[in-house]
């Protein structure tokens, strides 16, 4: 971990959740060694269509007005999350780049991590109870750990367990 080499590319998956914010903060505090040695890639994945945000996956049709309101809400959420992340990185004086992609988070994140050949992937932990896991399947952290090729840091908040 000495200087004189290429910087580590650390990808942090951003989501509109407290877990994700905590994961970024923890990574900045404990993982990042110095601005010279590390570069952060902040990746925010927006859901593809509004239908994906529902657990049942049933097709629901909205009026166009409602659709545009939901779209705007999506954009505002993404903007809010990314701005917060940028502020945190700037506080630690770390260089970063932001990326916004569309799709299902776990696939997009692992794919991007592979394509960009990142050195480390940081993901917030979602603690699902047994029932939720039965329906949603593996959570993001588990999926990334099983499918990403690079080291994966799964950051959970202390004491937050189901």
């Amino acid at each position: 971990m000495e200087a004189g080499g290429a910087r580590r590319q650390i990808m942090v998956a951003l989501e509109p959740s407290e877990e994700s914010t905590y994961a970024l903060e923890w990574a900045l505090e404990y993982l990042v060694i110095s601005p010279d040695s590390d570069h952060l890639i902040l990746l925010y994945v927006a859901p593809e269509s509004l239908h994906n945000t529902m657990i049942t996956g049933k097709e629901v049709s909205f009026s166009s007005h409602v659709l545009s309101v939901l779209e705007k809400n999506k954009k505002q959420t993404a903007h809010r999350v990314i701005e917060l992340a940028k502020t945190m990185c700037e506080k630690y004086n770390v260089t970063y780049e932001t990326k916004v992609m569309v799709g299902e988070a776990k696939f997009v994140i692992c794919d991007a991590a592979k394509k960009l050949n990142v050195d480390l992937l940081v993901v917030g932990g979602h603690d699902f109870g047994a029932i939720k896991r039965f329906f949603i399947g593996s959570n993001l952290g588990e999926y990334c750990i099983n499918h990403a090729k690079c080291p994966v840091a799964l950051v959970k908040r202390r004491g937050k367990r189901t």
Binding site: R8, Y30, I145, N146, L154
Partner: protein, 172 residues
Amino acid sequence: MDGKLGCVVAAVDGGEESMNALGWALNNLKLRPPSSPGSDDAGKLVILHVQSPPNIAAGLNPGGIPFGGPTYVEVPAFAAAIEAHQKRISNAIISHAVGICSGKNVNVETKVVVGDPKELICEMTTKLHADLLVMGSHAYGAIKRMFLGSVSNYCINSVSCPVIIIKENSTS
């Protein structure tokens, strides 16, 4: 920039992946320096090896004579030989791990405990108040994982601190 990590647990077993994970940890993590020279609050790396209990690992334990016959006592030499063998394996694993750490100027401790690996890794991580757990992953496919279970999958769901899983092909 100074490191902040107080206690990092690196779980090792006889597999190359866990040693890779340890190597990754040494190259990528920075421990907390002591607050003043000589004080003992410096960050430490704990190399943890969980040794499987002899009767499970051996698989050959003949067990006691049923229907009221003598049990453990009747085959002391056999059981002792298995335990001694297990111990030799653990020692080899620990010294290999410590060898990887040599020359890196890291505050290292080692710990060997006997029992179920996935449960004990989680228990020890909590007991040691670890800030971070680092593990390798055997990278079993989905089917194998279903039958053999996965220590790393169990740990990421049970442990309360952050976990870093390193796959077999990344050491830098």
